[in-house]
């Protein structure tokens, strides 16, 4: 390091746009969100500071029920995604012939490049009452009349698992690639059962991938609007829909801001707990 690498002018060329971006588009808008959530109209119609928006949330059961429901369903979805992604990732990294590995990775990635809307639309065509699956079930005499398979919680969770799958599989694959085969071979030679190998070797090794995958999936599911709205229908009761309703339908931006801030708080809290439990930092997870 004989030559000083930095010069003042170049430093400012890099810093200025980044600073503008982060301050104007990330920090200020979220401070404004917080400010708006504490504002409201008093009896005279003037704007004042108030806790009313948050009070509404806690006194109206529909609001906090939806909030809790969204949180619990997001956690369940994340867990199901993990259960499904784990064997798939293991198969691709450790089981399948190396020649097929690249092709399988490609096949795995391709559907996720397609817009979420198109994928959900595909499921709607498959599952709805006049859908493709019902058509075949009736044709083969398995059922007498078509059943509505959309608009229930199970379908909605399946849709959420489907749309966020990739963000679990990819970190799991990259972390499994660094797992040394000889560890598994040694355990096998010494007579351990499959479950011991899974719980003592594979899962502990994959912990960083599991954490980062879970955080991303959880965040995406919690903030998802399309899938609950289109696959869950009117019964979906997803919290983002409450936010949308406050903003677009009721035009009550202060209430919507309070809801938005609560959702932000919830997602930050759960991500923070996830990071604490796995003793990781956000920077490590991101890279």
């Amino acid at each position: 390091m004989a030559v000083p690498r930095s010069s003042k002018a170049v430093f400012w060329i890099f810093l200025a746009p980044v600073l503008c971006w982060l301050l104007l588009l990330i920090v200020l808008p979220h401070l404004d969100l917080l400010r708006m959530s504490f504002a409201g109209e008093n009896e005279l119609g003037d704007m004042t500071w108030t806790l009313q928006n948050y009070r509404n949330f806690f006194t109206e059961p529909i609001y906090w029920n939806t909030f809790l429901r969204t949180a619990v369903f997001s956690i369940i979805t994340t867990f199901i995604t993990f259960l499904l992604a784990m064997p798939v990732a293991f198969y691709i990294v450790k089981v399948v012939r190396p020649r097929l590995q690249g092709a399988m990775m490609l096949m795995l990635l391709l559907p996720f490049w397609v817009s979420e809307l198109v994928r959900i639309y595909g499921w709607m065509i498959l599952l709805r009452e006049s859908g493709v699956i019902n058509h075949f079930l009736v044709k083969f005499g398995l059922i007498d009349r078509p059943i509505e398979m959309l608009y229930n919680d199970a379908t909605m969770i399946m849709g959420l698992v489907y749309t966020s799958m990739l963000f679990m599989v990819v970190p799991l694959i990259s972390v499994m690639e660094s797992l040394d085969d000889s560890l598994i071979e040694a355990a096998y030679d010494l007579g351990s059962s499959k479950s011991v190998i899974w719980f003592k070797i594979i899962l502990p090794h994959c912990k960083p991938g599991i954490t980062s995958g879970s955080i991303v999936v959880f965040m995406l599911v919690l903030g998802n609007y399309l899938t609950p709205n289109l696959m869950g229908g009117k019964n979906s009761l997803w919290f983002t829909e409450q936010i949308y309703n406050q903003f677009i339908a009721s035009f009550n931006w202060n209430q919507g801001a309070a809801f938005g801030f609560l959702l932000l708080l919830l997602s930050s809290l759960i991500i923070w707990i996830g990071l604490k439990l796995s003793r990781q930092k956000l920077g490590e997870v991101a890279s």
Partner: protein
């Protein structure tokens, strides 16, 4: 269990079967969408009435194919424009951020880095409403103090670009940073020893080295912008992007023209994915 260990036929078979099912699960909705785009029917459902290109080329009055559907074509054009500007801005700013965090040292660096990662964990819907609120606040403030009405601060094309840029730039920064970390700094030092300026070094050496990563990140940024729904939903004005327009149509009942658009999107994204893959193969 793994390649080098013996496993029973039954186990190997059922594991393989499970993975096959998984891939069917992945591709079934896309496959069905594409096939039904060619069904000679007024609804995107079975039974099969025969092959038809109506939903691509018909010009009305009963059926309007995508190539004659001006509303959807306009939405596609809007999406292309949005994605172009978002990809351009986020590539420039994201690359600046990569240089800033990889090569410079300054006070509050960690805080700023944390802020840059924040869009990864902020749900898109929240980002959308925050920007909507802030833009509205700024617009009202400027109108009240200077009496100027700035259209940028109302839901509009440029607000959508701004909103998408605010989180896509983070992805570009992470991709370019990863590449920059592998760069050999002695190359820069050699050039500077030989009298090059810092800016000259960056322009002629570092950026050349980063080019595949920057193009790859730009392609991903384009795609992310083209498909974004959550953030756009709150910022969109009178010019809906394609995902918003499709959403409104799907919600209010659908015709196979949506299948036709989906097919074009699937083919387009697969092609872009292949190009991107080709570039990322090259850089390794």
């Amino acid at each position: 269990m793994i390649r080098s260990l013996p496993s029973s036929k039954k186990y190997a078979f059922s594991y393989g079967f499970f993975v096959c099912c998984y891939f069917v699960f992945l591709f079934a909705p896309l496959f069905v969408t594409c096939v039904l785009a060619f069904n000679n029917s007024d609804f995107p459902s079975l039974p099969w009435y025969g092959f038809s290109l109506d939903w691509f080329v018909a010009s009305g009055p009963e059926r309007v194919g995508i190539f004659n559907d001006s509303q959807n074509l306009r939405a596609i054009a809007t999406s292309f424009q949005t994605a172009f500007w978002v990809a351009l801005f986020s590539t420039i700013v994201g690359t600046c951020a990569a240089f800033l965090f990889e090569q410079e040292n300054f006070p509050f660096k960690n805080l700023l880095y944390f802020l840059m990662l924040a869009p990864l964990v902020i749900p898109g819907v929240i980002l959308g409403i925050s920007l909507l609120l802030a833009a509205n606040t700024a617009g009202t403030f400027i109108e009240n103090s200077f009496g100027i009405d700035v259209p940028l601060f109302r839901p509009s094309f440029w607000l959508v670009v701004t909103g998408q840029f605010s989180f896509i730039a983070t992805f570009v920064a992470l991709v370019v940073s990863a590449r920059l970390r592998k760069f050999d700094p002695t190359l820069e030092e050699a050039a500077m020893n030989l009298g090059a300026t810092r800016l000259g070094v960056i322009w002629h050496i570092t950026l050349k080295y980063l080019r595949p990563a920057i193009f790859g990140a730009g392609a991903v940024a384009f795609l992310m912008s083209f498909e974004n729904f959550n953030t756009t939903l709150f910022l969109v004005g009178s010019q809906p992007t394609l995902p918003i327009n499709l959403y409104l149509q799907v919600r209010d009942g659908s015709t196979p023209v949506i299948n036709a658009i989906s097919l074009l999107l699937i083919v387009g994204t697969f092609a872009l994915a292949m190009v991107n893959l080709y570039f990322s193969k090259e850089k390794d």
